[in-house]
Structure formats: structure tokens, C-alpha cells
């Protein structure tokens, strides 16, 4: 029983303080205050406040699920949820107190007392362990001096500067305003509100976990969908504005924010839908599984037709702004499919993929531009240059592959990274300035013209990207199942053994790099036509890293995974543009979280799934 107790309290303490640290951190970097600007539900809750609620709520849920595993009683679990909520609020409350004029003395008190308390605690511990008096006194002095140096210097800084803002610039009025739920003037009330809200959220998270399966899943769907639509209100409104009339739109949104009754309706509807899915979902899936082969094929065909129709109609459903995002996503899907040939199939870690992108973009720019740098001033059209861009990129891929053929793994990655950097520097160099304009880049690139119509809107460019991606997807699928694909897989597994099978590894690797480069060239050309100008600072190492990340997040060697990866990693940041400063923070956090929780990717390929499962099985076997 004692071990259970200590396990329980340790779990609650660890998870609670972790989420407390999360709230403190997001506050200190200014995320909470920035998110407060965006309302999720009109005059009800902001994104910042939602963040303050979600942390204890999710923590409460996880605490409950852990304690449930330990075999704790429901009553105990609910108490633990309250505690977790409180712990979530605690670090921020402490900071709040330190920051307030009334309680600033507390900070000084703590800083002054800290060395003595710390030294005494450690010395007491030593004393209990049976150290002699001399040692105990020595330890006390040592700790007191060491901690004292740190805390006194902190205290000095605060005293001179006056407040915490000199150190933590984002711990400001706005932060206090959000965290006290608009009770900045009346701090005790504010702290109480914050604490109570946090505790209630922790409790609610626990409650959710204790519910029976069906209503729990229904509520998760309901809350999740409502929060998501609210948080991406602008996107939701843009989609709706294409499909409903103005009055209805005004009924649902106030500017970019969900109105209260609309949010409530959405919550009710999505909860109800979630309820039905939780009740009957498995039955529906089962009846799908029972469909016989011929009917299944027919069903698959219908599904395909619906999918194609949807993809064709997409720009008219989502409107201009989102079509623009879709084009960007498509460009990255193209690159992802290409790079996947090198990384996913042949196992060649290529970090210089931007080379191909840059080559494609500059080829199109120089050949079609009607500006001063255009070589032919409109003689060449977009359609004529696309195959050239493809060939040029393939050639670049081939040239760069030759020197690195003998390299493997990490060495290959570093060498390709170097090539990518060289290309970036060349693009901005004075040496190539007469040709590609150095830092000014190439301007005045005309839009593609299709049977006399200029494709100048993202809605129209979308179709170019769509067709290119589909072609690329088709080639990619065919390659996957071909003799060539097999030969790449053998090289990925073991180069020496592949040679022993009679595979010419040098030729196979050259082919992989060359084909992989092709789509990069097309993507670059489309990008250049879309933007209308080509600047060297579009071609940084981040392009290569983005493409690599989207492959890994989506699921390596998985074609649908690449599409999903591009939507998540390229689309999401575009939609989060208003939180510009935090985009990369979120991006990084997402990457880390993904690699811990789902290393096989969002839609893993069959092989990778197997590998991870067998890894888990091996671990289980080892544990037994």
C-alpha cells in the first residue's frame, strides 16, 4: 500500500509540475499573451485562455489514466485530478506573486532565505546519515556560500532594475491580464480565479477519463472539433465563405471568431456525431470488412471517383487564400515524393535537396522572364521550360551524386548538406550576378498561359501542382513495386549484400539521386511561376530540412504519409501565420513530440510499421 501511495503521489507531482512548467514556459516566451489576441469563441474564451485550460485538463486526464493503471479508487483519482490542476497553476502563481508590487518582498525573502534553507536542509540530511559535526558544518558553509552567490546576485539585479521584466521580458501586464482572467487590479481574486479554473480543469480531465467509453469518446470528439474549428476560425470562415451566403456566415462568425451559439451548436452536433460513431462505428467498419471482393472493388472505384472529384473541386470549395496554401503544400508534396526515392527507397540521406529546387526555379526564371535578366524575353513559355527544368535538375542531381557515390550514411548526409550550402551561396554570389541577379534575384516571370488563358490565381495554379503530383505519385508507386525499386531497397538494407546479389550499386544510387532530383526541379519551376520572382533567400537549408521532416513526420517510404506530412508541416504553419514568432517553436515541439510518441510517422508504410512493432515485441520479450 505504501509503495502504491508513493507511486501515486510521485506521478501526480511529476505530471502536475510538468504541465505547470509548460504554462510557465509558454507564458515566459509570450505565447499565452499572443494567443490571447485570438478568440476561439466570441466573448467567451480566447486561445490563450484555452491553453491555460487545456494543460490542466490533459494532465488530469493522463493522471487519471496512470492512477487507473495503478489500481487506485475513483475517489482517490478525483482528488489527484484536483491536485494536478493545482500544481499546474502553482509555478505561474509563484511568478505572479514575485512580479506584483504588493508581494515583491516575498521574492526578496525567498532569495535571501534560500541559501540558509538549502544549506540547512542538506546539512540536516548529512547529519541524519551519521556524518560528524565538523563535516556537517563544513557542508553547511559550502552550500550556503554557493547558493548565496547565485541568489544574492539575482536579488541585486531585481533591486536595481526594479522588476522581473528586465530578465523575463514577456512577464508583463498582458501576461498578468490573461493569467488572472482579467483581474489584474485585484490580484488575490485573480490568483484565486486562475487557481480554481486550473483545479476545475484538472478535475474535469479526471472526470472525462472516469466516464464510460461511449460518452467519453463522444465528448472528446465534441470538445476537440469545437476547439479546433474555433482556433482555426479564420480558415474555417474562409472555407465557409465560399459555400454559404453572407447572412448565414455572419450568423456563425463575428469576423474570424465563432459566435457563442454557433460554437454551442457545433459542440452539440460533433458530440452527437461522436456519440453515434462510438456506438456504431465498429459495426460500420465490420460491415465494410464483410463486403465481398467484387463489391469491394466497385466501392473502391466509387471512393476513388469521389476523391478525384473532391481534389478537382477543392479550390472552389476553399477559396483563394487557402488555395494558395494548397499550392505551397503541393509543391512540397512534389519534393517529398522525389526525396523519398533517395531516402525512403534507397536509404540515401540527402540533405541537399534544395539544390534541385533552386535549379528548377532559376532555370524557369532565366528562360521565361520578361525582365532585364530574361535570356529570351518570352520566347520560352512555362510549358516548354517545365521539361527543361526537370532535365536540368536531374542533371544537377547526377553531377552531385557522382562524388558522393562511395559515401554512406552520416558522411553522405554531411556531404550533401555541403552541396546544398554551396548552391545557396552561389545563388547570392557576385560571380553569378550577371546571370541570376545575385541578392536581387530574377523578376518579372510571367504566369503560365493555358490555351490563351493566363493562370494567374492560386485556384488555377493548383491544377498544375495537382497534375504534377499525381504523375509523380503514379511513377513513385510503380517504382516501388519494380525491379529498380527492389534494387534500391536491397541497397538500403545492406549495400555489400546488395552487391553480392549482383546489383550494380553505383548505377542504382546514381539513378536514385537523378530521379529524386527530377520532381525537385518541377517543384522549383512551379514555385518560381507562382511567386513571379526568384530570390536566393528562398533557397536555404530550411527547404531541405522541411522536405526531410515532412517525410519523417508523414511516415518514411509511405506515399500517403508524404501528403499528410506536407499538410501538417507546411499547411499548419501557413495557417498559423499570425503567430509568426511562435510558428517554429510549435513546429519544433511538434517534431519532438512526434518522434517520441509516433516515430513511425502519421501514416507509416507497411514495412516500417512492422519494424516498430517487432521492436516493441523484442522489448517485451526481453522484459520477460
Amino acid at each position: 500500500m505504501d509503495t502504491l501511495r508513493s507511486q501515486t503521489s510521485r506521478t501526480v507531482l511529476a505530471l502536475g509540475l510538468l504541465s505547470g512548467a509548460f504554462i510557465l514556459f509558454t507564458g515566459a516566451v509570450g505565447m499565452i499573451a499572443a494567443f490571447h489576441e485570438r478568440e476561439v469563441v466570441d466573448r467567451f474564451i480566447s486561445l490563450g485562455q484555452l491553453l491555460l485550460l487545456i494543460a490542466p485538463f490533459v494532465t488530469g486526464y493522463f493522471v487519471a489514466s496512470r492512477l487507473h493503471e495503478y489500481g487506485e479508487a475513483p475517489a482517490q483519482i478525483l482528488v489527484a485530478g484536483l491536485a494536478a490542476g493545482m500544481l499546474t497553476a502553482l509555478p505561474s502563481v509563484v511568478l505572479l506573486l514575485f512580479n506584483s508590487d504588493e508581494f515583491r518582498f516575498l521574492l526578496f525573502l525567498v532569495l535571501r532565505l534560500a541559501p540558509f534553507v538549502a544549506a540547512s536542509a542538506i546539512a540536516w540530511g548529512r547529519h541524519q546519515a551519521g556524518a560528524d559535526t565538523q563535516t556537517v558544518i563544513g557542508i553547511w558553509l559550502l552550500i550556503a556560500v554557493l547558493v548565496g552567490i547565485v541568489t544574492f546576485s539575482f536579488a541585486l539585479i531585481f533591486e536595481i532594475k526594479g522588476d522581473l521584466r528586465s530578465v523575463l521580458v514577456n512577464i508583463d501586464r498582458d501576461w498578468v491580464e490573461v493569467i488572472t482572467f482579467d483581474n489584474r487590479k485585484d490580484l488575490p481574486v485573480g490568483i484565486a480565479t486562475f487557481g480554481l479554473v486550473s483545479i476545475a480543469a484538472g478535475f474535469a480531465g479526471c472526470m472525462l477519463h472516469l466516464m464510460p467509453n461511449v460518452p467519453r469518446r463522444a465528448l472528446i470528439y465534441g470538445l476537440g472539433i469545437t476547439a479546433l474549428v474555433g482556433a482555426f476560425g479564420e480558415t474555417a470562415r474562409l472555407i465557409l465563405q465560399e459555400n454559404v451566403d453572407r447572412d448565414t456566415l455572419r450568423e456563425i462568425f463575428r469576423r474570424d471568431t465563432l459566435r457563442q451559439h454557433a460554437a454551442l451548436a457545433l459542440f452539440v452536433i460533433s458530440t452527437a456525431a461522436g456519440f453515434f460513431w462510438a456506438m456504431y462505428g465498429s459495426q460500420v467498419r465490420q460491415s465494410f470488412d464483410n463486403i465481398d471482393t467484387s463489391n469491394r472493388r466497385r466501392l473502391n472505384m466509387i471512393g476513388l471517383v469521389i476523391f478525384v472529384a473532391f481534389m478537382l473541386l477543392l479550390p472552389w470549395l476553399i477559396g483563394r487564400t487557402l488555395s494558395d496554401v494548397a499550392v505551397t503544400i503541393g509543391i512540397f508534396v512534389l519534393m517529398g515524393l522525389g526525396l523519398n526515392i533517395a531516402i525512403g527507397l534507397a536509404g540515401l540521406l540527402d540533405l541537399g535537396y534544395l539544390t534541385n529546387y533552386a535549379v528548377g526555379a532559376y532555370i524557369l526564371a532565366v528562360l521565361t522572364s520578361i525582365g532585364p535578366l530574361g535570356l529570351f524575353k518570352g520566347t520560352f513559355t512555362f510549358w516548354m521550360v517545365i521539361p527543361l527544368a526537370l532535365l536540368a535538375a536531374m542533371f544537377a542531381g547526377f553531377i552531385f551524386a557522382v562524388p558522393v557515390l562511395r559515401m554512406r550514411g552520416d558522411y553522405l548526409a554531411i556531404a550533401t548538406l555541403g552541396f546544398g550550402e554551396i548552391i545557396g551561396k552561389l545563388a547570392i554570389s557576385d560571380w553569378l550576378k550577371p546571370l541570376i541577379g545575385g541578392a536581387q534575384g530574377v523578376q518579372a516571370i510571367p504566369k503560365p498561359i493555358f490555351f490563351g488563358a493566363e493562370l494567374k490565381n492560386p485556384e488555377q495554379l493548383y491544377y498544375i501542382v495537382l497534375v504534377a503530383s499525381l504523375v509523380c505519385l503514379f511513377v513513385s508507386i510503380r517504382l516501388n513495386n519494380s525491379r529498380t525499386g527492389r534494387q534500391w531497397m536491397a541497397i538500403r538494407e545492406d549495400e555489400d549484400v546488395a552487391t553480392a546479389m549482383g546489383i550494380d550499386t553505383a548505377r542504382a544510387k546514381l539513378l536514385a539521386f537523378t530521379l529524386s532530383a527530377a520532381t525537385g526541379g518541377v517543384a522549383g519551376a512551379i514555385f518560381a511561376a507562382k511567386v513571379g520572382t526568384v530570390f536566393p533567400n528562398s533557397f536555404t537549408v530550411f527547404v531541405s530540412i522541411n522536405v526531410l521532416s515532412l517525410i519523417i513526420v508523414g511516415g518514411i517510404a509511405s506515399n500517403p504519409g508524404i501528403v499528410v506530412g506536407a499538410i501538417v508541416l507546411i499547411g499548419m504553419p501557413e495557417l498559423l501565420r499570425e503567430f509568426a514568432e511562435f510558428r517554429f517553436l510549435l513546429y519544433g515541439a511538434l517534431l519532438i513530440l512526434m518522434m517520441i510518441k509516433r516515430p513511425q510517422g502519421l501514416i507509416p508504410s507497411k514495412i516500417v510499421t512492422h519494424e516498430h512493432q517487432s521492436g516493441v515485441k523484442a522489448k517485451l520479450a526481453a522484459a520477460e
Binding site: Q487, E493, T499, A500, M501, G502, D504, E611, S614
Partner: protein
């Protein structure tokens, strides 16, 4: 004329002189064992023969043709097939896909037939043909590696430490199989630390010592040789 003639080869790893003039020959239909301790140059010899490494001096001829400068992947279609050390199955391909890879260089249509004969040689593999090779046991992986090497219809099969990492029971099975393959007319060059087992199935043997051939004799004589007994067979 011997099927494989290795003549005074010198192979280097950078500056390290690994093989210092190794010569031996393998006649058609023979089982030849290269034995020796760790670092004697057994695997290097095999890698040189199979073309994964090139000798700096000396010659290797296969069926009368000089091959010491021929790339490894081209040797496979000439009829030399290797079972690499540590088996080297493609873990993320299925058993059948692994066997298909073995027939990579083959352009004729008999692969289906050969698949059948591989399965008849190793019935266990047929039971597991849809499994990923990585999920097989060590012994099964060794079988798969051998079966895969046979898929290219080699005249000369190079085996690098087939007993490595296998339980003693399985080792017997592997050597039985090697003997059976030899009886079907495939010439075998075997590198083995387990000298005892290797000499039992081999016709002739070469003892390698720090990159040189120290002793060469028939397997039966080697088993009786006092030095060999002391150093490699553990008999006093």
C-alpha cells in the same frame, strides 16, 4: 584446370597488409575449407575472391578468366555467389522477396522452378515465405541466406562463417546442407572458424596464418596434423 585459381594475392586495408601472397585453388565439385584464427585473413580472402575488394598484386582466375579486377556485381552473373558473414538477409523484405533478390541477375524464366527447389531444400522457408526475413530465427536466416545465394545458379558458392552465432544443433544442420548442395554439383569455398566441422565435410583445406597460407593438405590429413590439432581443433 582448376575452377578457381588464386595466385599470390596481396590485399590491403589502407596501409594494413592483410593478405601477403595467398595462393590456393579450387577444383570443380570440391569443398574447400579455409581455416584459421581471427584476423588470419579468411574473410579478406573471400571478399577478394568475390570482388568486394581488389588485390594490389596477384591474380584470381575463375574458369580460366582473370577476375581480380572485375566488380563484385558482375561476378554474380559469371557464376560466383556469396553468403556473406553474419548472414545479411534483407530484414525488411519477406522470405520470398529475399529469394527473388537472389535471382536478380537471372534473365531466364526458370526462377519459379528454382524457388520450388529452394523450398524443397529448406521446407521451413516455404512455411515462412510471407514473413519478413528479420523475424526468422538465426538458423532460418542462415538457411535463407544460403538459399538466396543458390538462386543465382552459381557454379562456385562462397560461404563466410556459416556456423557463426548458431546453436550447436543447428550447426550440424547447416553443414549437412552444405554437403547436399555440393553433391548437386556446386563447388564450395568455405571460410570457417569452426575448423572441426569444416574439415569433416571438406575435401581439402588451407590453414591461413597472419595473411599467409601456412599449411595446405587434404582435409583428412589436416585433421591428423599435430599443429592443426593443437591450434585449431583443441586437441592436445
Amino acid at each position: 584446370m582448376a575452377l578457381l585459381e588464386v595466385n599470390e594475392i596481396h590485399t590491403y586495408y589502407g596501409n594494413i597488409h592483410a593478405l601477403k601472397g595467398v595462393s590456393f585453388e579450387v577444383d570443380t565439385g570440391e569443398i574447400i575449407a579455409l581455416i584459421g584464427s581471427n584476423g588470419a585473413g579468411k574473410t579478406t580472402t573471400l571478399r577478394t575472391v568475390s570482388g568486394l575488394m581488389a588485390p594490389r598484386e596477384g591474380s584470381v582466375s575463375f574458369d580460366g578468366e582473370e577476375i581480380s579486377r572485375t566488380r563484385a556485381d558482375l561476378l554474380v552473373s559469371k557464376g560466383i555467389s556469396m553468403v556473406p558473414e553474419g548472414r545479411g538477409v534483407f530484414a525488411k523484405l519477406t522470405v520470398e522477396e529475399n529469394l527473388d533478390m537472389g535471382a536478380y541477375v537471372r534473365r531466364d524464366g526458370d526462377v519459379k522452378e528454382d524457388l520450388k527447389s529452394a523450398y524443397s531444400l529448406f521446407p521451413r522457408l516455404e512455411e515462412r515465405k510471407k514473413q519478413f526475413a528479420g523475424t526468422l530465427s538465426g538458423g532460418e536466416q542462415q538457411m535463407l541466406a544460403i538459399a538466396r545465394a543458390l538462386m543465382s545458379k552459381p557454379r562456385l558458392l562462397l560461404l563466410d562463417e556459416p556456423s557463426m552465432g548458431l546453436a550447436p544443433v543447428l550447426v550440424d544442420g547447416v553443414f549437412d546442407t552444405v554437403q547436399r548442395i555440393a553433391s548437386e554439383g556446386v563447388t564450395i569455398l568455405l571460410v570457417e572458424q569452426n575448423a572441426h566441422m569444416a574439415l569433416q565435410i571438406a575435401d581439402r583445406g588451407y590453414v591461413l596464418q597472419s595473411g599467409e597460407v601456412a599449411i595446405s593438405d587434404t582435409a583428412a590429413n589436416l585433421q591428423q596434423n599435430e599443429t592443426v590439432q593443437k591450434t585449431y581443433l583443441g586437441i592436445d
